[in-house]
Subunit: 334 residues, 2 copies
């Protein structure tokens, strides 16, 4: 009998949503999603400020991705966002409101999250990487610093490239995150906003150590490379830049396989990205590098630009099922 595989996805935002949605369709897979608690922008940031709750945005997206499909009503409700111009409800996400309310009701974010798992009939686990909200800072090449995930994420002003990111104060690690990694057959990092979704998980000191332990036990680490660069975050990054940066962040662990899209996006979509100074990530990795998996991975559906959370940047997306099948083929044998 084939043993069920544990796969841990690290990230947040639309990229992780697509990966989880794809992996969920595989048989004999147990999924965990590890997400950062640094989000402080938009309505998620308002809820965090007004109510003192953990930032719900990334948690919500992963919960919806992993929720059972049989009754679509809760998924629809969790994913729903009120239209702009709806008074106090303008642009508010019902899922974020529900998660925030549960935290207030139970007085404990982790009891609230466990309840959300049960209510949404989630197949797997969504795990905040830290036990508390964190303030993310970025240091640029010119020595300037940017404070707050939102400011790193949305800034359109020209600024020096980001050199590193760090937390203003050291947050406590959520031991469930390290336990999930140590227990995994494979960890999938990305795709996602590099400095605001991916790196904030990897700079928690215990995470590289857990990844190393996973690899010592025969587990594998995959990186799904982004499709496009992001203005102000990853301008000019090629596939090797992403890979090198992540290898630096997770040392002494390392990426076993980098999964790169080989299809060329439609010209019209590229034009749209170019308008905001964003370009396809160039695949400059060695042609015969056995640690690179190249495949056509672009979703034929064009993502909707939804205002609010990060989902607005998802015009060009990975095809969840194709990506999941690629990951499945790379899993270690038992």
């Amino acid at each position: 009998m084939r043993k069920s595989k544990n796969i841990v996805v690290i990230g947040g935002g639309t990229g992780t949503y697509m990966v989880l949605s794809g992996l969920k369709r595989l048989k004999d897979v147990w999924l965990s999603a590890i997400v950062t608690m640094s989000d402080d922008g938009g309505h998620t940031g308002d809820l965090r400020d007004d109510l003192g709750v953990l930032p719900p945005g990334d948690l919500r997206q992963c919960l919806v991705a992993l929720s059972d499909d049989r009754d679509d009503a809760w998924r629809k409700l969790f994913s729903f966002r009120f239209a702009e111009g709806s008074g106090n409800m303008s642009g508010q996400s019902v899922g974020n409101i529900i998660l925030s309310a549960l935290e207030k009701i139970y007085g404990d974010p982790f009891l609230a999250l466990a309840t959300a798992h049960r209510l949404l009939d989630v197949k797997g686990r969504v795990i905040p990487v830290t036990l508390e909200g964190t303030t993310l800072c970025a240091e640029c090449e010119d020595g300037t610093t940017i404070r707050g995930e939102h400011n790193i994420d949305v800034s359109q002003v020209m600024r020096a490239p980001i050199k590193r990111c760090y937390f203003e104060t050291s947050p406590r690690i959520n031991s469930e995150a390290t336990a999930a990694i140590q227990d995994a057959d494979a960890v999938v990092i990305g795709p996602g906003d590099f400095w605001t979704s991916i790196a904030p998980n990897l700079i928690v000191p215990e995470i590289p150590r857990a990844l190393r332990e996973l690899q010592e036990n025969g587990g594998r680490v995959f990186f799904v490379c982004n499709l496009v660069t992001k203005r102000g975050e990853t301008d000019g990054y090629k596939a090797s830049d992403f890979r090198n940066r992540i290898n630096e962040l997770i040392s002494p662990a390392h990426i076993d396989v980098t999964i790169v899209n080989s299809a060329k996006p439609a010209q019209a979509i590229l034009e749209r990205y170019r308008e905001t100074g964003e370009y396809p990530v160039e695949d400059d990795l060695p042609h015969r590098d056995p640690s690179v998996c190249r495949q056509s991975l672009i979703s034929p559906e064009i993502g909707e630009a939804v205002s609010g959370d990060k989902i607005r940047r998802s015009l060009l997306r990975h095809h969840g099922e194709t990506l999941a099948q690629a990951i499945q083929r790379l899993l270690p044998e038992n």
Copy 2:
């Protein structure tokens, strides 16, 4: 085998919540709650104005009352209200937000309500009396009129007694409401705010006709008399005033049994009511009237004063289970 009994409760607000919570514990009972769509005050009114949805407040309270107890999480979530001073979420009811979101998602209030029944695992039906929101008006004895349920409900200014209430424009009846009444073994009217929760259901022209039909088929109509008067609505009303007013409203039907509390509330509680000009309803009905059921019906628990919806007025409440047992004894034999 004993046939299951159909009981319809007409009202809204805390009184109906208590009645439903009590009746739910009886065996072999199928419950329906008919509520008015006139609520336009507080946060319910804001949602109605901002989003163009049916007023969710009374629906929410009845859904929670009838929801299954096995998993308390959804009930807690539906009943939760954010504290004041929580930014855009200040004082908002999560249940109201969820009902409003469902109406937006499904684009139809009745499909949304059916979904809410399923999600909350409701044992019974909650039925809006009309197919659309209504604007309630009241005409006072001095000829002045008051427009809007909220203005009738909360006004603390001295004003002439209310003579009658009416809708600004004729709403379409929800035929599910008349069908539920015609199919019932008994209908329970009240307790509740007379001119803002009870009367707005009874002035829908089809309702008295349905009640009459019920009585012709052997069904019974009960009225649970309020415990205290309400300032600006029912000042000076005695039990006979309530009974006569309702008999006028539901003619050609009539009340079969009026259920009156016989216990004297604690002096300290009466003092609290007196401060706002409210007094226990005097039982002036004939001593040996066989259509009066007298019993000690006061809940030993003192209600919490919750800001927001009508639940704030519930310091003195009916004891749901005792009331339900009294109603059960009055049900017609099959």
